[in-house]
Structure formats: C-alpha cells, structure tokens
Symmetry: C2
Subunit: 337 residues, 2 copies
Amino acid sequence: MTDRNRRFLLKARPNGMPKTSDFALVEEALPDLQPGQFLIRNHYASLDPAIRGWLDDAPSYMPPVALGDPVRASTVGVVAESKAEGFKAGDWVMGLNAIEEYSMAQAGGFSQLIDIGNVSSPTHFLSVMGAVGLTAYFGVTEILKPEAGQTMLVSGAAGAVGSLVGQLGKQAGCRVIGIAGGPAKCARLTDDYGFDAAIDYRGKSAEALSDEIGAAAPKGIDLVFENVGGIGLDATLLHLNRFARVALCGLISEYNSEHYGARNLWQLIVHSATVRGFLISEFLDRFAEGAAAMAKLVGEGRLRFDEHIEEGIDNALPAFLRLFEGSNQGKMILKLI
Amino acid sequence: MTDRNRRFLLKARPNGMPKTSDFALVEEALPDLQPGQFLIRNHYASLDPAIRGWLDDAPSYMPPVALGDPVRASTVGVVAESKAEGFKAGDWVMGLNAIEEYSMAQAGGFSQLIDIGNVSSPTHFLSVMGAVGLTAYFGVTEILKPEAGQTMLVSGAAGAVGSLVGQLGKQAGCRVIGIAGGPAKCARLTDDYGFDAAIDYRGKSAEALSDEIGAAAPKGIDLVFENVGGIGLDATLLHLNRFARVALCGLISEYNSEHYGARNLWQLIVHSATVRGFLISEFLDRFAEGAAAMAKLVGEGRLRFDEHIEEGIDNALPAFLRLFEGSNQGKMILKLI
C-alpha cells in the first residue's frame, strides 16, 4: 500500500460544459486515520449526470462540491485500513465518496458494507443494484405506478436508468416508447431492451419529434419518465393524456446550458397532468427492498443492463463528458485500479 | 325583442397579442329556434385569460374557436324565448356561450338555471360563485391541500383567482405571499385581501425577484398557486421546500409569447416537488358544493372580491387585452346590455 493518493479536484466552477481547466489531478499524501475512520481503496467510481449539478454553486439537495475538494461520486472499493468498528481491512464497501484512489470514510457515514458474493462484478453495485437501479425501481413503482395498458414514454431511454425503466414498464404491461440519440441506440431499445418503439431525436425539430411521438403513441401518453428535458420534453408534453404523470428524474440536456426552457407547461394545465420531481433519497429507508427486487429480476434473467467502463483516473473528465455527448453505452463507470 | 344579434367573431388566429384585425364585430339575424333549443339574451360575459388559449389551433381541453365563430366565453343572461323543456322566458341562466348579444343554447348543454335571489349582482355567478371562485376553491382545497403553518406563494395575486386563493390560504393558517404588478396592486394584497407580504414583479430581473421571494419566505415555500409563469415562476422554484406542491392554474405571461421557457425545473428534482396542472372541469360533479362553500364565505363577510366591469360589446377586445396588461382591478366582466 502506497501513502500517496491521486485525486480529481474541482478547481473552478464550470460555465456550461466542464473543461480541463476546471479540474486538477493531484497527488497528495494520505492523512492519518483518526479513531472511527477507515480508508477505502476505491476500485470503481460511478460517473452520473447528477455530478454536474453538484459542481454549481446553487441551491440543491446537497452542498456543492467545494473548490479544491475532490469531485463527489459514488464508489465501490475495499477497506485498506480501519480504526472504525464494523469495518475491517478487506471488506468491500460502497458509498458516496469522490473520484480519488483512496477515500476516508467513517462509521455512520455514507458508506456501507456490500456482499459481492452473489454478483458477477462489484460494478453492479454502481449500476443495477446501485443508485441507477434504485432510481428506476422507485421512479417506476412509486412515482409512475404504471397500470397494464398504459403508454409510457422514456427519454434518455438507452441510458443506464432509462433502459431499466423501459423494461420495468414492459413488465407492468405498458406500451413503452423510448427516445434516444442515434440509430444504434434506438436499435438497442427495441432489440435488447424490449421497447415497443424507439424514436431518434438527433437532428430533429420539436415539431418533427412531436409528429414521431404522436405516431408511436396513437392513444396518447399516460406516463413519462423524463431524463433529458429540452425540446424532447416539450414535444412529449403535446401528447399527454388526461391525468398523465411525468416522473422528473433528470434534465441532462439542460445541465450545461442556460438557454433552453420548457415552453409547453400549459399542456399540464389542459390535461390535468402532474410533474413529480424525485430523488432516490426519499426512499432511503427502502433501499434494501429496492436492491433486492432488482437483484431478483437480474437473477431471473428478466433484466438486461449494460455497463460502460472507462479506465483510469486520468480519464475522469473525458469519461464524464461522454455522458453529455451520449456516447456511452450503458452505465458509465470509471475503473480506478 | 330585436331579431338582430351583434357578435364578436374570430377572423384570424392571433400571432402573439391579439389585435383588432383578428376579430370582427358583425350583426346577424337570429336563427329560428329548433325544438329543444332556447335563446339567451346575454347580460354579462366573463373575460378570462383562458380564452386566449382557445384562439390557438393547438391541442387543448376543448376545441379551438373556429374561424368565423364568435369568441367563446361564459355568460349570464335571461332566456328570451324557449322551445326547450325546463327553460322558460325570463329564467336567469349561466353557461359557456360566446361574446354575443344572444346565444342559442339547448337543454342538456352547458347552460344551467341560476337563482339570483340571494346575490347582490348576477355578475357574481361569473366571479366568486363562478369559474373564478371554483378555480380558487378546488385549487386550494383539492390540489394544494394547505396545512396551518405552511408558506403559500400566489402569483397573479391581485387577480380574480389569486385574490381569492390568498384569502383561502390565510383561512387555512398559512403565511401567504403574493406577487403582483405595481405598487397599487401590492397595496391591495396586504390592505384588502390580508396577504402577509406582497412582491411587485415589475421591472425586476429573475435574480432580484428571487431575492425578494427569499426575504418574504424565510422558511421557504411549501405551496405555490401559479397563474403567471415566466421569470416569476423560475424565481419561485428556487425557494421550494422539500415535497413542495405547485398548483399550475395559468401561465398568463406566456400565452402571447413563444419565447419564454421555464429554466428552473431541475429544482423540482432536487426538492422532490410536484407541479399539478388542473382545470375546474375535473371537479364538475362538485360544482354545487364549491359554489355553496364560496357563497357561504361571502355571506359571512369572510371573502373580499372585486369585479371590474367594462361596458359594451364594442369594447370586447380592449377589455380582453387589459387582462394581459394587468390593468384590470378584479374579475373582468363585459356588460352586454
């Protein structure tokens, strides 16, 4: 074990799309462990669109990443050294840490032991059994509450969350339509994930997109799982049925832009529709239930999921930016060891 | 009784703010009554922001006003002649008719008998006991469900709906903040309607507005009754508490504009907040309950409401446009006789 720690620090708040000069990769000495603390050797970090929000100094559900701090991320790793009860060297843990080789954690914090005995890869704790899987599970079962025969539209449908949401929608008996970027992703939606229809948003106006949504949803849309925002959301709003529900999970197309705003909110009025923003943290006391439900579906072979693994902390920024280009294929994970 | 009918027709779909050439005031012969029909001499027409939506050829909760048809509006009037069972000459009725001196109606349609014996003016059926009052009543009691101690923000607060909403919020024990345009309206909010705080949006940036909202709502906002949209809504979204609810009733600032879009919807995600669009038509089977509840509050002197009456069908367009200028003081009603 080394006493050096490479860390990916935030140096400046990004203005729009993050760029190299907003960050610094530094090598620091490991601090001494205090009683109650333990040191995690991070093996994998989860790169999520939500991280972009944490880089801004704006009111949010958790404080912004401070300038000079490492960029916050969920990680899985192995306890390297421990002065905390309940954690011993060699234990696998997952938690909200940072993009760094080693993280200091403490008992009672955001890290918990995981049992990797029944999974084919510890990365699954950052995908189907982690925040991504729980977001899909609680978003569908608690926010959308689908009924057989309804039509569900999923944006960002080829993404880590969207692809799981669509499969859960199909299992609930819905007609499921996905919006994704490019023909390859659209093919994955119908071929790999079982969506009924796929719409490629690339290069299309709001009007053209609206026409395609209308064709794919001849009975209108009852349920929307929104990951993207922008013109896709505006086009979707034009096809809502009465009492439609929109689970607002993300607005990835808007995170790096100040310029777009949703123009068709009046459709919520005329269709008595609901938009419900949500975070999985509201279901904190039910995470075990959600992870078990997703693990069961995986075990039964009823859930297809993909992981996109990039290697090395040197690649943290380009890997993160691929989320916004949409060039990842599956849950984006950075391998750190 | 004349056999001529002056009618305010839609000639062209407005592009942005409606203008004189979009309409025509014509005089037509009255058609002959068919069995089941009755003729209403309209005394008052209700001029509502919702009418603007009906002039566009876009998907909505009712078909657009057809070119060449009179502009749809709620009216109160007196049956002039009847071949319909249940309606006789001299009966007072209210219904969804049009801006015209006489409307043809039919039994089983959108017109109903009203008892003007207990009201000081039949116009109250177009204000506190009509759609405006029912919108406030069901919006507050069924969509927002306020609890004592919560903070409620109302936009368009000096308007017909907003001023009633604020008073209902106060009766529920909320701290109520109103946003309105200009010092005179803001003074009415606190002096006449009992709001705890009033914010004048005129001439302010989203940032300045957000600062004032923050100062008026030091504990954040739990409930929003939104009539306006635009930068006011974006500023409001920055102050939501966890699980906040927004009753989306109208977006008047956006009806004549293609340019603004809500940019802070991500705040719904980070606060697990809900936006619920609504129309009073979802409570159709409870209108009698709502009107009775409002009439009771009026009778007890617990509800202040104002009516702004403009005279003459010649003034239909300028009176309608005052809604968007915000120069009306109370529910806008056009007197037709």
